[in-house]
């Protein structure tokens, strides 16, 4: 009997029942001869069991009545799929025209650009614009930090702090006042040793629901934003998502520590 050579790939095939019965027997021998592969296979098996267990309760939940009633024909669909499917883009344009003429987008169920989207969209534009500046990156430099923080706090209407990103490798270079979605916003600009720049924004958002970190990408620039206690915060920069997450995390913790005291 000629045995084929097995590899890591076969661990997946075996776990997922994609090996034939003959292959399976040979595979088991191979596993016995390769303890590290056997351990990995057992680990994948455990992770799968944990994943299945974590999701199991969802399939056991009572189904929301609206879903069953929809299929049984007791309630009507929310959307016309004929209009939606392939022509979503064209439909969106028509809807914008409709909205301008006074018909609600809500009627057709398309998401309205919300305030946070506008804020974070403007934040990215502002970052891209000012981070590229050589001479006038900021309006007030970090050498006048107290003045900067006091001024921006007054204009935004809350007590701000200049968040410290030095553990993340970025130091404050200064800040400015900006309009984001037509409201006053503070922008703090930071820079690392290689000249990469990120900015932190704070502005009011009276209608915002408190959220987790949300991601917003546009070309190279990435933004993470969150809403907390009536304020919208955003960090943005052309850095890796991991880096930006660490920065957002630090900002969230430090700003939260501020409101807690």
């Amino acid at each position: 009997m000629s045995r084929r050579e097995f590899s890591l790939n076969d661990i997946h095939l075996a776990l997922d029942g994609e090996l034939s019965a003959e292959e399976r027997a040979d595979f088991e021998h191979w596993l016995d001869a390769h303890p590290e592969m056997k351990a990995l296979s057992a680990r994948f098996e455990r992770d799968r069991a944990a994943l299945a267990a974590a999701l199991a309760s969802i399939a056991a939940e009572p189904v929301p009545a609206r879903l069953e009633k929809l299929v049984s024909g007791e309630i009507r669909p929310r959307r016309s799929w004929l209009a939606y499917t392939r022509y979503a883009a064209a439909a969106a344009i028509l809807l914008v025209v409709g909205a301008a003429a006074g018909y609600g987008i809500a009627v057709a169920g398309f998401p309205k650009p919300n305030l946070e989207d506008q804020i974070v969209g403007d934040a990215i534009v502002a970052h891209t614009m000012y981070a590229a500046e050589k001479l006038h990156v900021v309006e007030v430099g970090a050498d006048q930090k107290d003045h900067l923080v006091g001024w921006l706090s007054k204009r935004v209407g809350t007590t701000l702090v200049a968040v410290d990103f030095s553990p993340e490798g970025f130091s404050l270079i200064g800040g400015r006042l900006l309009p984001l979605a037509e409201r006053p916003a503070a922008q703090f600009m930071y820079q690392d040793n290689s000249g990469n720049r990120v900015s932190l924004y704070v502005t009011t958002d009276p209608q915002g629901r408190e959220t987790g970190f949300r991601r917003y990408a546009e070309d190279d620039a990435l933004a993470l934003y969150w809403v907390d206690k009536g304020y919208c915060f955003a960090v943005t920069g052309a850095v890796s998502e991991d880096k930006l997450s660490a920065i957002a995390d630090a900002a969230y913790r430090q700003l939260l520590a501020r409101t807690a005291t």
Binding site: L67, G73, T85
Partner: protein
């Protein structure tokens, strides 16, 4: 009720489970299921008799999920929950979730959508490679590499979570 509608209703619990691994928020996941059902109902004539309603419904849901991802690229999508370690600010986790369940679901959300979908379809929903590749509309080779990477990601993320827990304990 006709047989086909009954067959669709039977799939709803599993559709909800799959939707929840794609989109963690319960309401958003049920909206995805509802959209998928609505679309399915509008295309009953395209459902080839004898074809598994499950594969058909999951394929529809996958297409809608991809559309939604494209839209949320502009509209913002929750990528991470707030750190829960600080008192006061973070929302408490739902009580019916055990710690381990929460960690696994959290880890799952950190895997890229492509890999996550491949992993859940095969490892949880029990689709064969051929079926899962069909649902996702990719060649079998692509499915396999996404699945292998998804598994590897899950392992590393879970390791990372338990490492962090240990660090936290040491810090205190």
């Amino acid at each position: 009720m006709d047989e086909r509608r009954r067959a669709i209703i039977d799939q709803i619990p599993r559709m909800r489970r799959y939707a929840r691994s794609l989109v963690r928020d319960r309401d958003a996941a049920d909206d995805l299921v509802q959209d998928s059902l609505e679309r399915a109902l509008s295309r009953m004539d395209r459902w080839v008799t004898g074809d598994s309603p499950r594969r058909w419904l999951f394929t529809i849901m996958h297409h809608l999920f991809v559309d939604q991802l494209r839209r949320t690229k502009r509209h913002g999508q929750i990528v991470a929950m707030m750190p829960e370690t600080i008192g006061g600010g973070a929302t408490p986790p739902p009580q019916d979730d055990k710690v381990e369940t929460r960690e696994v679901l959290e880890a799952l959300q950190k895997i890229s959508p492509d890999r996550r979908a491949a992993l859940v379809l095969v490892a949880v929903e029990g689709f064969s490679y051929a079926e899962a590749a069909n649902v996702l509309g990719v060649p079998a080779g692509t499915l396999m590499s996404r699945l292998a990477r998804g598994r590897e990601d899950l392992r590393m993320i879970l390791d990372d979570i338990s490492r962090r827990k240990m660090i936290k304990v040491v810090d205190k």
